[in-house]
Symmetry: C2
Subunit: 385 residues, 2 copies
């Protein structure tokens, strides 16, 4: 049976990138590796849509988030955390660990924090040093209006720290235009690499804050050191350089396709996925859906864990379920990186077949047909903001 | 031209391990991945020679060192740092960053810290909470008598933190028998993997200290969280799981050969490398040499950088030079992991040829013959402590 990985990270890796990782291991301090890091950084700046340095860390995306907090936020600093799920909560937990004072704006699962809520919080807490949010909340499939958040935060002394781990490279993200001060992503989502690397862009406003932060109790995640090293084409410590070399292969693919084209294509795949699920009678969980994954509520009377297990065992389709209190209640289907429209079609087809088998009243073919109708409309269906 | 990587990390990776990394990327939260982590951990416990948990971190080895310090040492705590080179210095720098009070015992480059020096420091600082050292100081090729250090530290309330990054899996290291409380290594040395993973063993004495440490300002490197997760076959954050899967392949190789056999084999390769260099008239830089790498002083009048460059360009032999003030003054030849006696022979042969070309009075064949004589003596040449 053919397997298809359709989880919102790790996501599938192109064959030519996989093969790159099987090449012999080189020494890491050579002119060639310096050149590689410089080129990869330029490609990442393109994907991030930023002129600021993008720092490569050997860690998961969470390490990148930790780097953002420990470098920017001194103990006692107020941090407004916009929380729409467990990854928003991670910002709060990070702030707590570093002795900051988190101000939480929490919305029910499936909903997005509204820009008005942030405006209110900023007015109430003019002394906030940072605002933290997710561009795409991977646990619920919610996408946030980071452009609007950025406009609000830019007027204040606070910096905007964005977890774009499951969104960067799939969903519109204009780091500089949107005034995102620290943008964090991981390698194993839309960048089409296995996990192991995190990437962090840092704006001049954030560097200024970092320069004025007297504590910065970190060694491995010291962003100033990373920046100084990057200027010489180096990393402070031995990087996962075979991943970095493979990243260049995946980034070449993104460059060739064009980031705006990718945004539009995946936004359309997201629209098709939503149409497909809805045509099967499933409800879309996110009121403001992200483009990198679609989350559908499992119908009453259907055990979501059984649904996922059947999809995997009978059809080789690996989708993700809900985490924590959402376990068994939602399915999460990714469309990012190396997942294309026909992979999404396969997933919808599988869900349709399994739902029917499990006794859910579904008209077979309706889900895939609804998705096809979205794709048939062509690229014009999507307009970037 | 055939290339040979002979640097003390990254070191070459076996072909079957490389191919494992080219396999399709699986989801990371599955029973299979849990089983893999459990098996890898058991294999690592064997390599570490410990019954304690060995935690896998997605980071370079430095991340593992940081985890040791931030978890064990509260701000203000006295940390005795045994410094024989830049990696010993790294412990001190880490201690400083975390607000600890480092007590430095520094010896000149090429020398090893003596157990008597540690005994004296422990007597002077009975309130020390930790002692930090390197088993193998990669910058100078010095090996430390960690067994002796462990005996001394075990009698005190302090914990012994050991950087075994370039030594674990190549040089005798009996974590439990030697009373090493936190032993740190990286993936890209004797464990025959690319960089990207760090491994940290933690003794009950260290867990007790960690439990009593009120600060522990870390999120990503929280060892308690890593331990709790490991008990369920998980990691707190997405691990570099394709590296982990490949690690199993390399660990199978270590299991098949047997760790004591590997220690003896590489100790013999080290003895052969020393004999080879000395027969060419080169001085061994370390007064107490490690088994994972041999460092020779470049003869007066020879530019070490040119020597290394010629080795690489003319013979495909990639050796390492000196760092910082030792740049151009030493050559560092690794014999760890997937580097065997004939690779060492090739390196010696290359050095001999290039030295002759550069005008150093060397009798061609003498170096390789001297090494051969060591190998001809058979395994009995090495006795483990």
């Amino acid at each position: 049976m053919k397997s298809r990985l359709l989880t919102p990270g790790p996501s599938p890796v192109p064959e030519e990138t996989l093969l790159e990782m099987a090449k012999p291991v080189p020494y890491h301090r050579t002119p060639e590796m310096r050149q590689l890091l410089i080129e990869v950084t330029q490609d990442l700046q393109y994907v991030f849509q930023t002129k600021n340095p993008v720092l490569t860390l050997t860690s998961s995306g969470t390490g990148g988030m930790e780097a953002a907090v420990v470098n920017c936020v001194a103990p006692g600093g107020k941090v407004i955390c916009l929380i729409a799920g467990r990854f928003g909560e991670r910002w709060r937990n990070l702030a707590k660990v570093y002795g900051a004072e988190p101000i939480s704006i929490t919305v029910p699962q499936g909903q997005a924090v509204q820009p008005e809520q942030l405006a209110q919080a900023l007015a109430q807490h003019p002394d906030a040093v940072a605002v933290c949010c997710t561009l795409s909340e991977t646990s619920t499939g919610v996408g946030h209006d980071v452009a609007a958040f950025g406009k609000l935060v830019a007027k204040t002394p606070a910096v905007l720290l964005v977890d774009a781990i499951s969104s960067l490279g799939v969903m519109e993200c204009r780091t500089d235009d949107w005034h995102v001060d620290v943008c964090v992503t991981g390698s194993q989502k839309a960048l089409m690499l296995p996990p192991g690397l995190a990437f962090v862009s840092v704006s001049p406003k954030a560097w200024d804050l970092i320069d004025r932060n007297p504590t910065r109790r970190t060694f491995y995640f010291d962003l100033k050191k990373a920046k100084t090293n990057l200027e010489a084409g180096e990393t402070p410590y031995t990087p996962a350089h075979t991943l970095l070399r493979a990243l260049k292969v995946s980034l070449n693919r993104i460059r060739a396709e064009g980031i705006e084209t990718i945004w539009k294509t995946q936004a359309r795949n997201a629209a098709a996925a939503r149409a497909g699920f809805q045509a099967m009678g499933l409800e879309i969980f996110a009121t403001r859906p992200a483009d990198g994954l679609t989350v559908a509520r499992v119908p009453d009377g259907i055990d979501g864990s059984v649904l996922l297990s059947k999809l995997e065992k009978q059809y080789g389709l690996k989708l993700a379920g809900g985490q924590d209190n959402l376990k068994g209640k939602i399915v999460r289907l990714a469309h990012m990186g190396y997942i294309d429209q026909f992979d999404v079609l396969a997933a919808l087809a599988g869900v349709e077949l399994v739902l029917k088998e499990m006794g859910h009243p579904v008209e077979v073919g309706k889900g895939v047909a609804a998705a096809q109708k979205v794709w048939a409309k062509g690229p014009s269906v999507v307009k970037l903001g």
